[in-house]
Amino acid sequence: MTAPVPIQLTVNGERVEAQVLPRLNLADFLRDQLGLTGTHVGCEHGVCGACTVRVDGEIVRACLLLAVQTHGMAVETIEGISDSGEVADLQAAFRMRNALQCGYCTPAMLMTAQDLLRHEPAPDREQIREHLSGNYCRCTGYHAIIDAVEATALARRGEAS
């Protein structure tokens, strides 16, 4: 009974059918079976946040979710929200503010920052820090990342940064 299990889901708006082993986590499924390598794998026990994706509209840790659990669900990765232009301004702000550095944490930082801005369009710096607290940046670029998110929030509200 450890044989592959059939699943159907949508990934970035496209219907996907696959056979997955029960133990395969969503991050590995996205990277290895679908070639969507923007979702990064860091700690694999929920600490670093590098694997953050959206499932049914809410951010989750892709390393703490089995691919079989996403049967019938809608998964969105950095490739999806990047291609749609949803986070184009946030990405530009990350470049402008030097919030990228090595880039390893960046896709998940963008997923998490966008999640905050969707729920709270006018966050203060403390709220930004709190919301991003589950995402590690190994270059310690935190201040620049907070700056970029704050600048994007201000710009989206029509205020200068």
């Binding site: 082993l21 659990q69 589950g134």
Partner: protein, 293 residues
């Protein structure tokens, strides 16, 4: 690391789940939100033969209030508790504490029942349940039983749940008029497990505690309902009374030493939290004198 191989099954009813547990309980793990189970599997701390995914059991989801009891279904997610007006109105301690449970991406999946059944001694919710005198409702194929939170936790990752039992709900007495609460934890990063934490519920009448329940966490192998609270109930609290309560608390503690803190440091932090809690709830900033342990 990756999880070892297991078989996966997703029952659609509670009865079906209980039958599976009756058949495979010793070799099975229930998968709810998975936010504690998946790390344990990935680190190979746990290697069950079966994973029983209870994520589809909608009977076990939801928050309701009736007859003075706030009832929370076992697979209600953390984010639902955080956003619930029923929880904010009737158990504000839970709402406040939930903001300290992990991070948004984890709170979107993690469930209350899963958190309690996992029984991490550094976790916030077990201590809240002890402080609030909650009752945990467990079921197997034959019967349902109701377990006071104070009797539920038996050690590190250990509870009184039998292999064929599952947690189905939590019942929290609705906060009464005059009931106040306190929550604080020390941790390295917002959202991490606590180094030491305190979840407290109290009734204050005038300048005294009519009731005080202190739920300390990360100071032993399970959440601690501190007997030291008795030193502070029904009397005018002064520095001497507080010092006596702190001494009584120290005698109860059995903190572990780990990479984050020595046992001595945890004792000091627990004493400090007791003073902060009492000073805050009684609105007596004069009691919050910082002194070395």
């Amino acid at each position: 690391m990756k999880a070892s191989a297991f078989s996966y099954i997703k029952p659609s009813t509670v009865q079906e789940t209980l039958a599976l547990l009756a058949a495979h309980g010793e070799e099975a793990k229930l998968l709810s939100g998975g936010q504690s189970l998946m790390p344990a599997l990935n680190l190979r701390l746990s290697a069950p033969e079966w994973l029983i995914d209870i994520g589809g059991l909608d009977d076990l989801r939801g928050i309701s209030v009736s007859d003075g009891v706030l009832r929370i279904g076992a697979i209600t997610r953390h984010v639902e508790l955080l956003r619930s007006s029923e929880v904010a109105d009737n158990a504000p301690l839970l709402a406040q504490a939930m903001a300290h449970v992990a991070h948004p991406a984890i709170r979107n999946k993690g469930t209350l029942g899963g958190n309690l059944a996992h029984a991490d001694p550094a976790s916030e919710m077990p201590a809240c349940m002890v402080a609030l005198d909650a009752v945990l409702v467990a079921r197997n194929a034959k019967r349902e039983r109701r377990i006071p939170a104070t009797e539920f936790f038996t050690g590190v990752y250990e509870t009184v749940l039998a292999p064929d039992e599952m947690l189905v709900a939590v019942e929290v007495p609705v906060a009464e008029v005059g009931q106040v609460h306190y929550f604080h934890e020390y941790c390295r990063r917002s959202g991490d497990y606590a180094i030491v934490g305190l979840a407290a519920s109290a009734v204050v009448e005038g300048d005294r505690f009519a009731d005080l329940r202190l739920g300390f966490f990360a100071v032993g192998d399970r959440p601690l309902l501190a007997n030291a609270a008795r030193e502070l109930i029904g009397r005018s609290v002064d520095a001497a009374a507080l010092a006596a309560a702190q001494a009584a608390l120290e005698a109860e503690l059995d903190p572990q030493e780990d990479q984050q803190a020595s046992a001595l440091m945890r004792r000091h932090m627990a004493r400090q939290l007791l003073a902060l809690c009492v000073a805050t709830l009684l609105r007596r900033p004069d009691l919050e004198i910082r002194r070395s342990a």
